[in-house]
């Protein structure tokens, strides 16, 4: 995927935006890019990108997270460092946004920065059509518009990441693709790619010719979870 300097990753909870953010950050760092990952989710208490902070920092990625993330304090506040990507010498900053309008509202305070760097900013909206109340294009567009309004930033690209966790089959991805294409047709927002668990990437590429496939390694699910399903 040809990517810009500032990447906002948003989508409904369970769309897979945090896994995608982690993968994008690691891919950038491994290409030698000066990378920052900003965990902007002020709502979700579990399964956040910053729980992998140690591993990410070991790869040279600067992690910025809410002041009380991963503690037992449930206070939604972000550090001033969220403004730093626009001033620091940096090649890539990935903003992992919250998964609903409330969670995504934290992005809103940066909207003037994103506007000032419009040509360098990409706002990717991640779609998982297997999530409840996100199973058709109208429901997805409704959530997308609410998140846009809360974040005060317009989505520039759609990514199909339709999955059922360990039970994902390539058919799951194809079903999501059909729904995403409807979303794209109705909104005029172009598709930027298909994110798919790495073991399904080759199969998905065969069935979706011409689509950019982004293989995803799963970081946040504990091993025992899917072993004992």
């Amino acid at each position: 995927m040809k990517l810009k300097k500032f990447i906002i990753i948003a989508g409904n909870y369970g769309s897979g935006k945090t896994e995608i953010s982690l993968n994008l950050a690691l891919a950038a760092a491994r290409e030698g890019k000066r990378t920052m990952l900003l965990d902007m989710d002020i709502v979700n208490p579990y399964f956040r990108s910053s729980v992998k902070e140690e591993e990410l920092e070991a790869e040279g990625i600067r992690v910025v997270k809410p002041c009380f993330a991963n503690t037992t304090v449930d206070v939604p506040s972000l550090p001033a460092e969220i403004y730093s990507p626009f001033d620091l010498p940096l090649d890539r900053a990935i903003f992992d946004a919250g998964g609903d309008p409330v969670g995504a509202s934290a992005l809103g305070q940066l909207h003037e920065k994103f506007a000032a760097h419009e040509s360098e900013t990409e706002f990717l909206y991640i779609i998982n059509a297997m999530r409840p109340m996100q199973g058709n294009s109208d429901e997805i567009i409704g959530m997308l518009r609410e998140i846009e309004e809360a974040s005060k930033v317009r989505v520039t690209g759609l990514v199909n990441n339709t999955n059922l966790a360990a039970q994902t089959a390539v058919e799951t991805v194809i079903e999501g693709q059909r729904i995403l294409e409807e979303v794209s047709a109705k909104t005029g927002i172009p598709q930027k790619g298909v994110a798919v668990r790495e073991d399904l990437a080759v199969q998905a590429a065969g069935l979706l010719p011409g689509k950019e496939i982004f293989p995803v390694r799963i970081f946040l699910r504990p091993d025992w979870l899917d072993e004992t399903e």
Binding site: Y13, G14, P45, Y46, F47, T72, D74, N128, M130, R131, P132, M133, G135, N163, L164, A165, A166, Q167, P222, D223, W224, L225, E227, T228, E229
Partner: protein
């Protein structure tokens, strides 16, 4: 409805709606906020009522009222919030009303933390509120099971006119797994002739009450409740056994902990240690018989909990001294790891 990838809290909420629940009264608290959040979006779609109460105390009393009118009703909270509801739960139990109460357990005591725990086992199974009563307590270990149990919980509640609790640790509330909704096996549920739905002169007046001043009457009510609990024990005790056929060591675990334990048992088996799991799916009634029977087969038990050791007391009562019952617990909001459980199994085997 086709398979969906759902957070436990969302699946619990949708399952309630699928089971015909049209009234939800709650108050937000992490890690179960997605239950009220989901209900607030979904209830209007099915002409139901979502109401965010001014407090947990208010919410449980709204449940009391709706249940008294014969409605399928649910409330949901997490540990400190469930403590606030206890008076109302005891009233509902005494008034013999069906309802479903969800507790997505976080660490305690006190306000504690927002990470997963199983520290509310005593509260859920031994009373919680005052007086001689029991809740039926279902403890799911996957999101699918959480959905299935919620749907069945409404039937169990109606069947026995008794509140049913879904006891899930924070992981059950927060993790995501694929879910399908199936109606539970059909039960003969008695008509709610006791419900206070307005008197038309053709029947006895329905009175919803938990106050019995005359000792003779209180005794009758108490006896009726105790008889009902015996019936529930006979009919509703649920347990899963995993690789117990030839097991020499038995892990006792419920909820998410049982999932981690399964992984540990698989590793132990690879090393030639014959381990199995007895997983209570109902923690009240407790499946004592399964443990009692296993005590004649295995060399020892290991109870694993995200607590200082609560269910272990019921395991010890059931095993009744026949075999050693060891305990491994983690607190603070951490999950046990498969390797840590495996290590404890090895210690049990080596008699350390």
């Amino acid at each position: 409805m086709a398979k969906k990838l759902m957070k436990g809290s969302e699946a619990i909420a949708e399952a309630a709606i699928q089971a015909g629940c049209r009234y939800f009264f709650g108050y937000p608290i992490t890690p179960q906020n997605e239950v009220p959040e989901y209900m607030s979006r979904r209830m209007p779609q099915v002409d139901g009522c979502f109401l965010q109460a001014e407090s947990e105390v208010a919410a449980i009393n709204m449940v009391y009222g709706a249940a008294g009118a014969g409605a399928r009703v649910m409330t949901s909270s997490s540990s400190p919030g469930i403590s606030l509801k206890q008076e109302g739960i005891s009233y509902i139990a005494c008034a013999e009303l069906p309802c479903v109460v969800v507790n997505i357990v976080r660490t305690g005591p006190g306000l504690g933390g927002i990470q997963p725990s199983q520290g509310d086992y005593f509260q859920a199974t031994k009373g919680g509120g005052h007086g001689d009563y029991h809740l039926v307590v279902l403890a799911p270990s996957s999101i699918q099971e959480a959905a299935d149990m919620v749907m069945e919980a409404f039937d169990i509640a109606d069947m026995y006119r008794n509140p049913v609790m879904i006891l899930g640790d924070g992981m059950i509330g927060q993790m995501m797994e694929p879910v399908e909704f199936h109606q539970p096996p059909k039960r003969e549920i008695p008509e709610k002739t006791w419900a206070a739905t307005g008197w038309d002169g053709t029947r006895e007046r329905a009175i919803i009450n938990s106050l019995y001043i005359e000792p003779e009457v209180m005794q009758v009510v108490s006896d009726r409740l105790q008889k009902r609990y015996e019936l529930i024990k006979q009919n509703e005790t649920r347990v899963e056994e995993y690789k117990m056929e030839d097991a020499e060591y038995c892990i006792a675990a419920y909820g998410t902990t049982a999932r981690v334990a399964k992984s540990a048992v698989n590793k132990a088996r690879e090393m030639g240690i014959k381990a199995g799991i007895i997983r209570p799916k109902t923690v009240w009634p407790f499946p004592s018989e399964a443990f009692c029977k296993a005590a004649d087969q295995v060399k020892g038990f290991l109870t694993v909990e995200m607590s200082a050791g609560q269910m272990v007391e019921d395991v010890r009562l059931a095993v009744n001294g026949k075999k050693p019952v060891e305990f491994y617990g983690v607190m603070g909001g951490f999950l046990p790891t498969p390797n840590a459980i495996l290590e404890k199994l090895i210690q049990l085997k080596e008699g350390k």
